[in-house]
């Protein structure tokens, strides 16, 4: 016997899962929402998505190759996911330069400063978006009108998002029932026929993508369900208390970035908690903060801030929310006599 045998500790087989499989799985799950975005915003959505993805991948490659001096790992798909999610969080008439700044912040500051994939404490795409939102508030809050702006980019005609209609309307003394006539029907909200960021409007497409990720076991149900449930419960209570000041839960779930946030942004592996119980607490935190910002804050939309704030709590949640250990509760099930 002159062959050399490999000796290594068990296990000797691997399940075959890999980082790229998960990342490309997320990209597949984003395809329905991308298709919806292209349908409603056409040219603008195409330009914004391509630019954001290309810029994120390019920045990651440059930073890894020339600053960190490591082998670039752009093929794992994580930079592309960040790019696509960043694009989904931008209005489709945003100038190219701003997209590139956003990508540089997302990848450079949000991700690579901390050591790259696996080390970023905050969701990189949201770091990019929030940087742009605070630095360029005008460009970040002019929303192209869906369908009719299909063949326009920078010159797209703009309108308000349903959330800002309600927020400004209520602030100026109008009642919710009057304002509801100014916003699209619930069916249109569900299909995504409203103003908003590139990929956040099409509820049906986002839910489809989210279910696909749960089915592929890329994510578990805990974060999306707890985010959506806490938004629904919180806004539901407010609506019951005063229906003329507070809009109902269905409106809140279908508008703004709640669905995109719940399924794709809050579930970012790196910046979300590890245990099931931790995920539920984190999701509830995001839901509650989102509603607080939407109802009482200065911005009409608060999902991005809510997720970033809860990202900050993730290490603390991980420390105190442990999974249920085996044998923690001694079960005393009785043996049944079947014979």
């Amino acid at each position: 016997m002159n062959q050399k045998l490999v000796v290594s500790p068990s296990p000797h087989v691997h399940g075959g899962d890999s980082v790229p499989k998960n990342m490309y799985g997320v990209i597949i799950a984003l395809i329905p929402a991308l298709a919806a975005s292209l349908w409603y915003f056409g040219l603008g959505a195409l330009i914004v998505s391509l630019t954001a993805v290309a810029a994120c991948v390019l920045f990651e490659w440059i930073i890894q190759k020339y600053l960190m001096k490591t082998t670039p790992s752009i093929s794992d798909g994580s930079a592309a996911v960040t790019g696509l999610l960043l694009a989904f969080n931008l209005p489709t008439n945003i100038p190219l330069g701003l997209i590139i700044i956003g990508a540089a912040v997302a990848i450079g500051i949000g991700k690579m400063t901390f050591g790259g994939l696996g080390n970023n404490p905050f969701n990189p795409a949201l770091v990019g978006r929030v940087f742009l939102l605070i630095s360029f508030p005008v460009q970040m809050t002019s929303w192209p009108v869906p369908v009719e702006s299909r063949f326009q980019y920078l010159d797209a005609s703009t309108g308000a998002t349903p959330l800002s209609v309600i927020k400004e309307g209520v602030a100026s003394g109008a009642s919710v029932s009057d304002l509801m006539s100014e916003i699209p029907s619930y069916l249109n909200l569900f299909l995504g026929n409203m103003g908003g960021s590139a990929g956040e409007m099409a509820g049906v497409a986002l839910i489809l993508g989210g279910l696909y990720m749960i089915w592929r076991k890329i994510i578990t149900w805990h974060i999306p369900v707890s985010v959506l449930a806490s938004v629904a419960v919180f806004t539901g209570i407010l609506h019951l208390v005063d229906p003329e000041t507070y809009v109902g839960p269905l409106f809140h779930l279908l508008t703004g970035g709640v669905l995109l946030g719940a399924f794709f942004m809050a579930t970012d592996y790196v910046s979300s908690p590890m245990s099931r119980q931790g995920m539920l607490l984190y999701g509830i935190g995001i839901g509650v903060i989102t509603v607080l910002i939407r109802v009482y804050g200065a911005y009409p939309e608060g999902v991005s801030f809510a997720i970033l704030i809860m990202n900050g709590f993730t290490p603390l949640i991980d420390k105190y929310m442990k999974p249920k250990r085996f044998g923690e509760k001694v079960k005393t099930a009785k043996v049944q006599n079947t014979k």
Partner: protein, 442 residues
């Protein structure tokens, strides 16, 4: 809905290549090496010296304490020498090396095939007999069987669980014992029930062995107290704590033995060996070993004497394939990679797995992406990603607080990790250090 355990678990491809192959008698080797420590606990003390003549079944090393087991000569012949031999663990272990000459058995052993169903011994005598015959847990843990049959004072066993799960991919030795030695197995279970003074036993079998479930159901239908429980296929269901949880829904607390929840678990191979020991006076000198692997030409199940070199088993299965990259003693999830092929078969050897080069190497390790899939997979409800960091950074007090000692080393975490992180390697390391600290504390 089929029963299964309640936390974690994975689904590796079962790849049971040798499931349809009947147990085949392996020819006697020319020389055997019998380690004196084939069980958990104190090593046995050799009773023979160089040049002695021994018969098959004769005691050659006597038990070294309560948690220990007798070692019997698996062959007849002459003691060649007492020396250290590398065993499956990769370490050199004191062994008795015997040159084989014929096959003369000890005259007290009944070698006939007749089924002996009358259990004449009393409970105490059964336990004594099981101890004398050197029976240990044959599922791989090799815990002396008589110890498990003697519950500590104050603890009462109310159910016997027989482990026919065989959740390791590739392995089929228990499956074949259930199919071919069913009658003997049932008598063995009745002996165990008598020894433990319980009136209920459940045989847990995963649903990927419908023939074994059918067969044993037929054999148990008229006998009271023994029940066959089909289980959902899920690794590591053959783990003692997982099996108890799956079958009767009780969870053994951290650091405690199954008797704490009134259960005793024995493997089907052990139950069969106990039948032979008690009814036939036959000590544990041979066992069924699966030899398998993707490139193996004749995968099969062989009845081999203890001490037989692994190379001879591999020959019987058609020889070592050309592209062999790794030879594992045991299954792919928990088995040990062998350092050479002269390693002897021991009481705990359930299989030999030959993996080709393309399956022998690990993939490059990447950063943890915190996907939490290791937490989902862990059957003990632990956080493998965290235990790995704590072991790596020697944060041993925190590792202990995070229940590192509960790890059963099933490998589900490493199997699942998309970043190919060596989670179990580090956890094992940390476990060793924490265990040392705990022992020094007392």
């Amino acid at each position: 809905m089929l029963k299964t355990f309640s936390i974690g678990g994975i689904h590796p491809a079962d790849r049971k290549l040798s499931a349809g192959k009947s147990i085949e008698m392996l020819p006697l080797p020319k020389r055997v090496a019998v380690p004196i420590a084939q069980h958990i606990g104190a090593p046995a003390k050799p009773e023979v010296k160089k040049g002695d003549l021994v018969k098959t079944g004769q005691v050659i090393a006597k038990t070294g304490g309560f948690v220990s087991a007798n070692i019997h000569s698996p062959v007849s012949g002459k003691i060649f020498k007492l020396d250290e031999v590398v065993d499956a663990s990769g370490y050199r272990k004191p062994s008795i090396i015997i040159d084989v000459d014929g096959d003369e058995w000890d005259e007290n052993i009944d070698r006939s095939e007749t089924l002996n169903t009358d259990i004449t011994l009393s409970s105490e005598d059964i336990i004594k007999k099981v101890g004398e015959m050197g029976i240990v847990g044959m599922g791989g843990a090799t815990f002396p069987a008589h110890v498990k049959l003697s519950p500590p004072p104050g603890k009462k066993c109310d159910i016997l669980i027989i482990n026919g799960v065989e959740c390791e991919p590739f392995l089929t030795s228990d499956h074949r014992v259930m199919l071919e030695k069913g009658d003997e197995l049932i008598v063995g279970i009745r002996i165990l029930m008598k020894a433990l003074k319980v009136d209920k036993a459940v045989i847990g079998i995963e649903n990927n062995k419908p023939d074994a479930i059918q067969h044993l159901k037929k054999l148990t239908s008229q006998k009271s107290g023994i029940e066959v429980q089909p289980l959902k296929v899920q690794y590591p269901q053959g783990g003692e704590k997982q099996l108890i949880d799956a079958v009767i829904g009780r969870q053994v607390p951290s650091g405690k033995l199954p008797i704490e929840v009134g259960a005793v678990v024995h493997n089907v191979g052990t139950a069969y060996a106990i039948y032979e020991a008690v009814q036939k006076n036959k000590p544990l000198v041979e066992r069924v070993v699966t030899v398998t692997g993707p490139g193996v030409t004749k995968p099969g199940n062989f009845l081999a004497r203890i001490g037989t070199p692994v190379s001879q088993l591999i020959e019987a299965a058609g020889g070592l394939p050309d592209n062999t990259g790794k030879v594992v003693g045991g299954g792919p999830m928990m088995g040990k990679a062998l350092t050479n092929l002269d390693v002897p078969v021991t009481k705990g050897s359930s299989g030999i797995l030959i993996l080709p080069h393309e399956e022998a190497h690990r993939k490059p390790v990447e950063n943890c992406i915190r996907c939490s899939k290791c937490i989902s997979a862990c059957p003990m409800g632990l956080e493998p990603y965290l235990l790995m960091i704590e072991s790596e950074k020697e944060l041993l007090d925190r590792a202990e607080d995070d229940n590192i000692m509960d790890c059963i080393e099933c490998g589900s975490c490493s199997f699942t990790c998309p970043a190919n992180r060596p989670l179990l390697d580090y956890i094992r390391l940390g476990k060793g250090k924490v265990g040392q600290i705990i022992r020094n504390r007392n």
